[in-house]
Symmetry: C2
Subunit: 792 residues, 2 copies
Amino acid sequence: MSAPLTDAQLTEAELAELDAHWRAANYLAVGQIYLMDNPLLREPLRPEHIKPRLLGHWGTSPGLNLVHTHLNRVIRDRDLDALCVWGPGHGGPAVLACSWLDGSYTDHYPSITRDEAGMARLFRQFSFPGGVPSHVAPETPGSIHEGGELGYALAHAYGAAFDNPDLVVACVVGDGEAETGPLAASWHSNKFLDPVHDGAVLPILHLNGYKIANPTVLSRLPERELDELLRGYGYTPIHVTGDEPAAVHRALAAAFDTALDAIAGARHAARVDGSTERPRWPMVVLRTPKGWTGPAEVDGLPVEGTWRAHQVPLDQVRENPEHLRQLEAWLRSYRPEELFDAEGRPVAAVLARIPSGARRLGANPHANGGLLRRDLPLRELERFAVPVDKPGATLHEPTRVLGDYLAQVMADTAQRRDFRLVGPDETASNRLQAVYAATGKAWQAEVLPVDEHLARDGRVMEVLSEHLCQGWLEGYLLTGRHGLFSCYEAFVHIVDSMVNQHIKWLRTTRTIPWRAPIASLNYLLTSHVWRQDHNGFSHQDPGFVDHVLNKSPEAVRVYFPPDANTLLSVAEHVLSSRDYVNVVVAGKQPCFDWLGLEEARAHCARGLGIWEWAGTERGEREPDVVLACAGDVPTQEVLAAAQLLRRELPELAVRVVNVVDLARLLPAEEHPHGLKDAEFDAVFTRDKPVIFGYHGYPWLIHRLAYRRAVHPQLHVRGYKESGTTTTPFDMVVRNDLDRYRLVMDVIDRVPGLAARAATVRQRMADVRTRHAAWIREHGTDLPEVADWSWTG
Amino acid sequence: MSAPLTDAQLTEAELAELDAHWRAANYLAVGQIYLMDNPLLREPLRPEHIKPRLLGHWGTSPGLNLVHTHLNRVIRDRDLDALCVWGPGHGGPAVLACSWLDGSYTDHYPSITRDEAGMARLFRQFSFPGGVPSHVAPETPGSIHEGGELGYALAHAYGAAFDNPDLVVACVVGDGEAETGPLAASWHSNKFLDPVHDGAVLPILHLNGYKIANPTVLSRLPERELDELLRGYGYTPIHVTGDEPAAVHRALAAAFDTALDAIAGARHAARVDGSTERPRWPMVVLRTPKGWTGPAEVDGLPVEGTWRAHQVPLDQVRENPEHLRQLEAWLRSYRPEELFDAEGRPVAAVLARIPSGARRLGANPHANGGLLRRDLPLRELERFAVPVDKPGATLHEPTRVLGDYLAQVMADTAQRRDFRLVGPDETASNRLQAVYAATGKAWQAEVLPVDEHLARDGRVMEVLSEHLCQGWLEGYLLTGRHGLFSCYEAFVHIVDSMVNQHIKWLRTTRTIPWRAPIASLNYLLTSHVWRQDHNGFSHQDPGFVDHVLNKSPEAVRVYFPPDANTLLSVAEHVLSSRDYVNVVVAGKQPCFDWLGLEEARAHCARGLGIWEWAGTERGEREPDVVLACAGDVPTQEVLAAAQLLRRELPELAVRVVNVVDLARLLPAEEHPHGLKDAEFDAVFTRDKPVIFGYHGYPWLIHRLAYRRAVHPQLHVRGYKESGTTTTPFDMVVRNDLDRYRLVMDVIDRVPGLAARAATVRQRMADVRTRHAAWIREHGTDLPEVADWSWTG
């Protein structure tokens, strides 16, 4: 069933060198898990040489080491520009071992020298307090992929390959990870990879048979069924199976040669011969025992080749002399005396097949993408801004205005090819379709005459998988490029867990001097909670903002531009920024234009501000009430409420505050964008009623502002899970965020109002009653609401 | 490539009847999207007959109607007990139409009669304010699957089929949905379905070619590649392709007959012949045009068979006479006069192939699972509780104690088979392995001699996909059974979006009288943030609680049992409850036993309480300070702090409060479990310093308690994203939740302390410094911490 193998023609010397490297890496992996001292076994192993806490994952490590050994060979022989994404990244000991062997570890951490002293430090620091994590992590040279949560390895690999035409991204997919949904979807990424402009991904499905406690699904399929599955995913699998090292070395070397020849062939066909057929890219299926070369049996139970090898096969080494004996025998089985010289340096045979310089997997600059990142060419916003003579006189769809700007970015990166727009089938639905004038939608599958905007070399990526969008974009950014993810607001929760991991990555890299900053991960959340005409309750969830604001504040920014020009200004900012996750929430429906470009820029730079033109403050005294808003729909309702108050209760001094940058509400000591108390109080007062119309869950505003002096006076309206398929205005009424309710809130909270305020309040309540009757009858909004516009 | 088709031998009469039903359903679907009046076209269509807002999804509707028509046939002919999960549930008009036709709609909503008046109401209410959602929703008879977020149809179908041996669950998978990760993983559910004890799932992959704006990946694969993919997933695909109705009717009828014969054959082989080979279950690949039978062209652009048919093909019907004319022609193309009689009732031919009574898809009780749900047999907790003579004298692993209890539930449901435990490969890692004494792990793939606890009929489900765990369990609960999902705390965020949808479902069903309550969805979150010895930062995220507490409070409960007996008490409660999502957070590591069973029960019933034995209050006066805690690790640190204070500052009156039920902190008007202010103040005081040690993100406690009188005095310690692979105590120190820091917090906040408090504070700070040095040197916790226990 396998593709015919190229004869790798490994000489005995090569084989010995590859095996020496593999044994050295395995030795170093075991040493990291167990040893505090006596790293080269110069004396018999004693309990005090053993770490007090035995932590780490052995099971996958020999497989990762094997792949690393053989990638070294082909990179060196072919002068490949290659990365590897280590899906089973809990095998940190393996990747650290190989990085130490190729010298890249010492390049990044000079104290971990490539000798006995450095080896001792390498061992001790592993999974030790103050040391390095047990998984592949941002601290690991050569890595773009956190070895924690499983599912994203292959999507990251494809993201790294897009627009890197000379790169080969190997990707080890564990058979555990292969059971996850995101990974299962990722195989189809090959329908989006252009053999002309993109690099290649070489998946290596590593079947070691077991997860923590169970067999894996793919390892227990008949090989024929597995082969059909992988061919159905569009690959040509090359199967390598074995538990005898020399035979596996030969087979894997041949498999890698076959695969790389096939990649070269596909590139040639597409780039030279002009073939437009989608290549059936090669992949390797590597079937070796879990915990291979480790203890076969412990305490009478089989370990090697079973789930019991997953973490620490011998777990009583300090206390149990038999375990200690087994560990020593295990370590000596690699014959360290042949692998390391008197000073503990790897001998020449171990290093013989390792590539040099930036070709080393631990040193390839693509894995430290900030080194390659160039600022995006961003044109002046004046060309895209909408003219605003007076607030609220015109309407624009903010995301459509943004679309023109993004189209220009696409056009200006046509040669550089370092900007992509990703989204789940919604670019046009979200009104960003202007980008198609500059580039198409990536598509390598069949194209029919009726199709529009599909292009083999397109840089808009649409697939109905938020996981793929996120994974691709992460891989793209981590290798030094730029992008934007546009998504339905409710369904971005699908990637909650992925963004967690990305924020943790960014937060950690900020503490690693050699990690160069990468472009921010930018979300445009649109089709938001307040406008779901075709959909309804299932499409209404504004909680992603709450989710990301739980994470490290140094890496998270949230913006609610209230109109088209503020959206442009925010977009310019986030596309220029580095090492953040930026969440921008903006509507796609026609929205009043409140600010001209210059005002928008100033407003966004401040992050929040008083809109004096919208309020009724006079002179020096503080206002009677503050009407605050964040989000496009709340801004409209707050302004409409302010207008009602101006008409109905003109003596009331109303201040209108708009918030773009939500973190401004946090205390300065909690978030870099947080306002100092004095600044906050100057805007919101210390003791006046504040009625806050917020786009999302109202308690988020309380959570951000609870330390402020005015907090006992803060009353927030927002989404409270009351929704269905209905009109825009009915949505705000159902959630008590409508203008009439806001006026009632003001009247309820401002002390000492004129007696006629009660009449005004009743009139407001009456309109809400009228609304309820009207909508039941007509299915549309009250004319006075539908036709409303700002008159000041 | 297809399996040989059984000759369905459709007579011309049958064919005519099936086609009549399909045409009627299509007519009703179009009517719902467009018509406010004139439902039977008794007069020429005029603009005022048209809805003012045209909303809904036409594209998928004819395909869903076709499947429904043909399911009716086989259900009736074979007296099948069958459900259908409608993956493309945005095709609400189709499912509503078919439910109206089979009479189940009128059964549930008597005002929507099966005549002209009822048809008019059916049309008007669709996607109309105050009417019904545009998607398949809880309001839709026969549905267990919200038609909003895509990806979960097939997992729901499998969940419904488990332990329902006579049920056939058809499942329409849209080719858009098929691109999602969760759906891609779901195909492998067949490795977990026991042909003896479980029902069958019949996937119907509907390739209509397009999403909102793009072709779909699967529809553009060569048929051979798609066929390999589906065979690789373990199915035998039956391909039906066409755009000529009669031919498609014949082919689909034959395909369904073939598939159902194959299902019957597989059941017979497993149940009668004793075959243990995993069946290659049949599935249908149905390839028909998107928006089939709708307008071929609109405004000169192709619509039928393209993405333009996705929502409302003619969108200017009120304004554009040509659109109006096209709509009328479209509606009349179904020949309504042949389908409905003078009173608007469906004629006999339309109804001829519809099954009757509970066999109708809109009436099957499995789709209203609460009707079938029976209380779980739960034994008295006394058999499982740990003895507690005095607090803190013994240690138990709480989840291991729970495991014994769950094992009993498994044993006691061995015949009923209505309880399952799901989890991503972590049942034993989470210390619940006692359940294996009562049942095995479901597994239909190859079994090797070395394997443990695998069983074809097992009711523990382990797969490395949180999406599958969640989807299976949802389907299982929605069809009237019980279960528990045990998950690593950090990675439950993977299903954030799924739980959103499930909570929305539960919240909505609470307002639907005919929906009987179902068993709650119970999470056990363990391997939590404070103990990640093998893992570290990537495995640390306690934010799922924040996420669910954003949702409808009537459907959400969160529990932090602090020890083994409280965990038992909480487990008993959640397993008895209905219509909730219960989140239980509990550690798997040895934990002090604080409460005996009776105390635990009383404490859990109150939800929070003063632990008098732990504090130093005397007599009537209020305490000087309140030390509160929620979560096992914070409880330990708070008690250790209380012990330090008792020793160091014995004159200080310290109150210790433990919180199990987090919603107790909310105001009574915000959550059914919320305490009234007077009750809250009686526990927490109105003005004394409250130092709160919380398991998760500290601001959540502020978000819950900001309205309380004592809030300005509330100081919360919790996880603040400071973590790595390190010791348990180092984790609490890094996050300022350790006992020494808590004592310092008390000293910093209680006014008027004796002068020697400053010395005590310095001693606490010194221990923290000593900790830092010790852990760098030894990699273990300070002996005084490692050996600590409560002495009062």
